[in-house]
């Protein structure tokens, strides 16, 4: 919680327009928006928590559950789609058994769909941390997940 206090001191004016930047900073710090954080931000800005949730759920960026230990970003841009990202996403969904934005029950994995990441001639692109997997095919997914499980367990 002390980190949230540090963030809040940067927005001393406490005006409502700083809500989105505060939420963004908290999410960068914690990885997600916890209930305690939202309550604290509400008290700071003098806003009801329902209003904050109403705003935060509108935007794609915010998540309300912790991300998995390994977080995958899958490009859902048009070029990757043309190059066959749809089967990749479908296979990922079947392999992990969760929807985009959710975390697997064992806490190992979560994944999100992003707009173009810039690797259009290398698509479909899947990004794990700083590593970019390029030319991913649906049949590569189970093996990739098995390998990443090891990485997730190290964390």
């Amino acid at each position: 919680m002390s980190k949230i206090e540090d963030i809040l001191t940067r927005y001393r004016s406490g005006s409502h327009e700083s809500l989105i930047p505060i939420l963004q900073d908290v999410q960068v710090e914690d990885g997600y928006l916890s209930e305690e954080a939202v309550v604290r931000i509400g008290a700071f800005l003098g806003m009801s928590t329902t209003k904050i949730y109403g705003l935060a759920t509108f935007y794609d960026q915010f998540r309300f559950t912790p991300a998995g230990r390994v977080h995958l970003r899958v490009c859902n841009g048009t070029t990757c789609f043309v190059n066959g990202s749809a089967p990749v996403i479908a296979t990922l969904k079947e392999t992990l058994g969760v929807e985009p934005g959710q975390t697997t029950r064992d806490g190992r994995f979560s994944y999100e769909l992003t707009a173009c990441m810039g690797g259009c001639n290398e698509g479909p692109v899947v990004c794990v941390g700083e590593t970019f997997h390029t030319h991913v095919r649906a049949e590569d997914i189970p093996e990739m997940i098995t390998k990443l499980k090891v990485l997730a367990d190290l964390k």
């Binding site: 700083s18 989105i20 705003l55 043309v82 296979t91 259009c120 290398e122």
Partner: protein, 649 residues
Amino acid sequence: MKGIDNSEIRNFLTAEVLRHGSDRLPAATEKRLAEIRRDRPSVPVIYVSSGSAAVIAGSRKSAAAAQEYISEMGMKAMVVMTGCHGPAVFEPLICIHLPGKNKLIFRNITEDKIETLLNGVFHNDMPEEDLVGQSGSTGFEAWNSIPFIEAIPWFRLQKRVVLGNCGCYDPESIGEYIARGGYRSFLKTIRNYTHEEVCDIVERSGLRGRSGGGFVTGLKWKYALNSASDNRYMICNAKESDPGAYTDRAVLEGDPHRLIEGICIAAYGIGASNAVIYLKTGSALPLALLKKALADAREYGIIGHNIYSSGYNLDIVIRQEAGAFVCGEETALIGSLEGRRGMPELKPPYPTTSGLYGKPTVINNVETLMNVPLIMERGPEWFRTMGTEGSKGTKLFFVGGRGRLTGLIEVEMGTTFRTIVEGIADGVRDARLFKTLQIGGPSGTFMTESDLDLPVDYDALRAKEIAMGSGGLIIIDETTCIVDFVRYYMSFIHKESCGKCIPCREGTGRMLEILENVIRKPITEDSNATLERFKGVMQLETIAAVMKDTSLCGLGQTAPNPFISALNNYREEFEEHIFDRRCRANVCRGLRTFSIDVDKCTGCTVCAAKCPVNAIYGTRLQPYFIVDDKCIGCGICYDVCKFSAVTVR
């Protein structure tokens, strides 16, 4: 790899260049600037591109390897990181400039190729297969028997104005930008022109907003300037919502300082002392570059209080959007900046009269603002020499999809789309047939073969009901299913609809549902579902028309565009899906049935092992078979079979 910026250079640039009143600089100053620009390097210079596309292809590792090679050999040479040159297929792209010689351009130089490449270049044993060509001007010695890049259509057919600096300088270095003539247009502007004159010059140049609408930029500025108010705001929309294009981001990564200069001039033009850059979220590299560029500009006194004793104050801040497609719409963008849900509002009042915090606000996109410093430097008449009657200047496109060459391009207005597809992108890859060109992303349209002869021109396209969009061009070949593509865009829009007005919120959902029914697996369908499917199909066109007429903002009004243009141009493909339950591109999962040819199957078990739903059964070394009820049509078995035993119907 260290930038050239230090306090000595800063003092020189601010005192001798930026404070210098007239356009012409003394010869001694020019000579020093040429040194900073590395016009005639005394040591070999290795330029490595470092934009997002290059980083994904591994350019940072290549740069590190080059640096290591130099220090190992004890050579005097420099490695410079630059923005992207444009051709994404060539990344990591490396440019080598030996003293007195023309520049050499090499493609796809990954980490492991660096040593061979540098050995080759320094010992005159060129690695031919990695070479793109040489580029140079007078005064440099040409390489023998190496083609000039101007011979390649990709380079010859483009006109690089906005991209003029991209790939030439280190985007982290403000000093190099100033040495290339940067920030002098802005200082000239605030010294010599009034606000009205700036708006007038930009209006006379004929510059039109590049975000899709094509509104005359100078006129928009005038509206804001003429709205009585004590404060005004300038917003640069760098959000770039189209999921398939990254023109703005590439420009930002290659030349962040010119964008800042454009914002400065625009803010001065409308009399604003606050400007906001509304940046896309999740793009770490542009954010870091912009932050550094703004900090440097502040240090050089280009933004701040009483800029170069002109009495003009300007502050620029970066705000990151939070991930909502609809926030590209002006009123929604303002709502999001004010800390509300990004929902569009009724216009008028337009933002130019009542925008951010109720003050007059101008919103321009990155590409528009990139043109502004050049117009102020070279004059509106120069800008009018490029382009067509109604559309002046150049246009950036991101050419993606199935073209042989993909990447960021800039063409003069009036160039035909055929030139782009067949010339610059060099046709469709893998010898496939061209099917359609998608322009403008999820709100855009499909262009058929015959539409390719249209020029890049706002009015010519509008006459054909095609929107220019923000710069996404996707080349599509026969392996993509149009119905599936329309469904992909509709699912995107449905997810991004803000939910304020009913035509958009319900219309997109209903259209998506009907399109999904069309490509659903027939085997699980009962007679009632079939009836529902047909009822839906009959209503698709009506829903599209209602959405177009009655939605509140551009998002809803343009959402049916891909569907309408696909139906007009590729009706037979829709009918095949609906009546014959067949997908000619073999893409739609539900409509595919797979079977195993018993004569070809060797029973190697690969398909059974890879099948995600265990729908393939059999005994080892005997022919396998697929259970249709379980099969989800993913096609993995088809892709992995080494004996072509799996057939698709």
